[in-house]
Symmetry: C2
Subunit: 389 residues, 2 copies
């Protein structure tokens, strides 16, 4: 069900002519009755944000944190398109607002695809009414929306978590350019829990930290990253803490689905750093290891080359005493006290041959811990990214 | 001639049993008469430095900045080997000191290769005397030394620059794990110019900035990076500024040779950022672009995808107004005012098809400029780095 699971939401997906060959590229998620509901968003920190990021931020500010719907397109990021790009993003909101019976400031917009290519608003505008007209509350409607936002993703990414008396649903896309502070990832979350704007924002900020912001595919932070949450309130107020837990679970699920579907990846690797001076330093160290081309290549080659891991820890900008470092793959310690540890080579080989790897680094300095999910670097990533054609 | 070009130096290279199959893996560069001369070094900033880095630092401090020679090995980094690693590095210095008639504190040591593998000092110690006995002042001696320090390098890297009345010679290795603050790169520079320790240090610091520290292959900073300079003084004092110029030229040549020989690279790309708020911000922005997996893949695919470049500039942590950005490949502007610029596509295609690319980013904010040399990311890098076996 995903975004139409929570009461009060409808969705649609269809083709609007952005992608070649009539592939679906336009999605809408909206309240069933066009009524604006509390909405919050977190956006990319990139200083060259795409037009939809600018427009969604402005609309949330102008509407006082209310939204009746979200329009999403794929195949063109509408980034680096200047004033024309912003006008196109605004026009998308206006067209959808008209369909919903809302005002444009109550519609948010997300776009993903190539940067710097003029957005074909003339073509797309002709299809908005048709796609919007197909919106509905069924599982197939949510699925159509989830498929229409994909780019190099190979599968749709959806989640639905039931809490006591309410639910949280979501869809997302994201396959590369993934880094802390999110990157080329879009996510729309709906809930029927009755949560005020301040609590909604606090819950979202807490949820993105250990999920989207702990995902690092290639260290690139995109121009378009957006996570939006809309709360219809139809299920009434949730028991204390329950909404936060459900939102956290949904975001974690989407982040893992993104890692599983990362461009060209053959391994999903969880890197855990413990014993750091602070949680922040642990997270930074885990991220440095996760972003290392050399370490990522060794995951691809199933080589437990912990020397590179230690070297990355040494340049992560965190406190380190190499003589205290312990490193393990899949629970088997390969480095102890900063030097090679005799270990069961067969056990490590079996672990490295799997699709899901775990690399743990204990720094022995303090109580700080943090984790990042990443992938390997192999031919597949290069094949996906060497040309845009 | 390289390191034996300047008067007063001898060199040797041979096999000591570290690498399989009898490949050369032990080099010595020393003063011809074993006399200690002014010497300075710059070392990796990695907090998990290898044993040879620890020992060389200590020896320079203990000797008051004097060295009679340098011993270098390849095939094993002697990093993450704890106390045994440090003892092995010390023993190498002792053995070479004996051959030179110097004290151990007057011998420096550089090592490169795999991290975390115990160094076979028992085996190597048997060959030090034999290799040292072959040392001489000829071009073939310098060449033997330059070849004995290579790892995944495919060619030896040497340079010799003549100044008025003096010369500067050098050899280096480095093929990956190259990043600002140097990385898996070793360089030994000799000169017969008479330069005092303070001037020697100042000149070296100035020389590494625009050369080794402006080279970024994969963003990884190794445990072993070392650049050493030994000055015999036999040519007397050089005219003001001339030694600094020659040293800068030598370092720039070695850095370019390293980029040309980078693991698996098919392109050498010079990234120039101008119009930044400060030189430091320009350099940081250039480095962020150079470290981007996505941008490096597009070099490999000969795709002038400037959108990714703009996106990286937006996350470089420097002041940016995307509306002022101009981006060009090979002198052809493809982005102006932050949006696509009509351009001669054939000219860009021809440029991208070459081996040497130039990417320029003008930020339009100030007078700051900086440049970084990098390479593309393709199958070759992955082939080199996915396993160590």
């Amino acid at each position: 069900m995903s975004v139409t699971g929570p009461a009060g939401f409808v969705a649609a997906g269809g083709a609007a002519g952005i992608k070649a060959g009539g592939a679906p590229d336009l999605a809408i998620v909206a309240t069933a009755d066009g009524r604006p509901v509390p909405a919050v968003g977190v956006f990319t920190t990139n200083l060259a944000p795409a037009a939809p990021v600018l427009v969604s931020r402005e609309h949330l500010a102008a509407s006082g944190g209310l939204a009746a719907g979200v329009v999403l397109t794929s195949g063109n990021a509408n980034a680096a398109n200047g004033a024309a790009g912003k006008a196109a993003a605004l026009q998308l909101c206006e067209l959808v607002a008209e369909e919903l019976g809302a005002v444009p400031e109550q519609v948010l917009v997300c776009q993903t695809g190539l940067i710097g290519v003029p957005f074909p608003i003339e073509v797309v505008s002709k299809s908005v009414g048709r796609v919007a007209g197909t919106r509905g509350p069924d599982e197939s409607d949510a699925s159509a929306a989830a498929h229409a936002i994909l780019t190099t993703d190979t599968v749709a990414k959806q989640a639905l978590v039931a809490g006591p008396g309410f639910s949280v649903g979501a869809m997302a896309k994201g396959a590369a350019m993934l880094a802390p502070d999110m990157a080329t990832m879009l996510a729309v979350v709906t809930t029927d829990a009755q949560v005020g704007p301040a609590d909604l924002r606090a819950a979202l900020v807490d949820a993105v930290g250990p999920s989207f912001n702990s995902l690092c595919i290639d260290g690139c932070t995109s121009t378009n990253d957006t996570v939006l949450v809309l709360a219809s309130g139809l299920a009434g107020p949730p028991p204390a803490g329950c909404f936060e837990d459900a939102l956290g679970e949904v975001c974690a699920s989407l982040a893992l689905q993104m890692a599983e579907d990362a461009e060209g990846a053959t391994k999903v690797v969880r890197i855990v750093v413990s014993g750091a001076a602070t949680d922040g330093e642990a997270h930074r160290a885990a991220r440095k290891v996760a972003e290392s081309q050399l370490v990522k290549c060794s995951f691809n080659g199933e080589d437990p080359y912990w020397g590179r891991v230690l070297s990355e820890l040494g340049t992560a900008g965190v406190a380190l005493n190499p003589d205290l470092v312990r490193i393990s793959y899949g629970g088997v310690t390969v480095c102890e006290g900063g030097i090679a540890a005799g270990h069961d080579e067969h056990a490590v080989r079996v672990h490295m041959a799997g699709r899901h790897l775990e690399l743990r680094c204990e720094l022995g300095l303090g109580e700080g811990s943090g984790a990042v999910v990443t992938t390997d670097l192999g031919y597949g990533y290069i094949d996906e990214n060497r040309t845009t054609s």
